[in-house]
């Protein structure tokens, strides 16, 4: 699987306006709704599900990245976006450090294999120091999209 198969390019947010976790989740789900990945009417429900998931165990797995995700009946097709925070967001991360890059993934229910494949791509890249550094430094939507394209091409 490739980033281009599930990341909604237009929803990439190079400079998050929000600085707290719940607001960041709302901003990114809102961006996905604007791009048509889900209906505006479902935004709040999906955000609530994401917050509940975070309370169950933070998806801030350390090293300045978080991967909030949820499987939800309102999601018909897997969709992801990326948000970049300049100031850092408190995600109650495992290493207690602020999060600068948020990869938000929404999956339909009953497609666990597809979900795991997407998580595989996300984490394979987030594990790389260079990818994390470039992601944190990419100040525009285009720069982030280029970084994902390069990752897809195996560069």
């Amino acid at each position: 699987m490739k980033f281009s198969e599930f990341v909604v390019r237009d929803a990439i947010t190079a400079e998050l306006k929000s600085s707290d976790r719940d607001a960041v989740l709302r901003e990114l789900v809102g961006a996905l709704a604007e791009s048509g990945a889900l209906s505006e009417a479902s935004v709040e429900e999906v955000v609530e599900a994401l917050i509940k998931r975070e309370k169950n165990g933070s998806t801030g797995f350390g090293k300045g990245v978080a991967v909030p995700h949820v499987k939800h009946p309102k999601i018909k097709k897997m969709a992801a976006t990326i948000g970049r925070s300049v100031g850092g967001v408190d995600f109650a991360a495992l290493d207690h450090q602020p999060v600068y890059s948020v990869v938000l993934l929404l999956s339909p229910e009953n497609q666990p294999q597809q979900h795991l494949q997407a998580m595989n791509i996300v984490f394979t890249n987030l594990q790389k120091d260079t990818f994390r550094r470039f992601l944190r430094q990419s100040a525009t939507l285009e720069a982030i999209a280029d970084l994902l394209d390069e990752a897809d091409q195996g560069k």
Partner: protein, 93 residues
């Protein structure tokens, strides 16, 4: 140092997604032994059983055979309990 290993198959429907991966790593960290997990799925892989990211990267779907290997003084207890966590489907379903 003693080494122990177990072969086990992922049985929960959702596979080794983030929450079970974290449960596994939390349990693995309770042991002094190093823990390694080999996956023999469609895309074989190897993970440090104490790294959440590496465990998620395995993308082990339901039915994926795994080998858990522990190396250290409490190796036997580690593989036994980690295998049980997988057998018990991480408390899912």
């Amino acid at each position: 140092m003693p080494t122990a290993s177990r072969d086990i198959v992922i049985r929960n429907q959702l596979g080794l997604h983030a929450r079970p991966a974290m449960q596994f790593v939390d349990l693995a960290n309770q042991f002094k032994s190093d823990v390694k997990v080999l996956s023999f799925g469609e895309e074989p892989g190897e993970a440090d059983g104490k790294s959440v990211m590496q465990m998620i990267i395995l993308a082990a779907v339901e039915g994926t055979p795994l080998k858990i290997t522990a190396d250290g003084e409490d190796a036997e207890a580690a593989v036994e309990q980690l295998a049980k966590l997988i057998e018990d489907k991480f408390g899912e379903e």
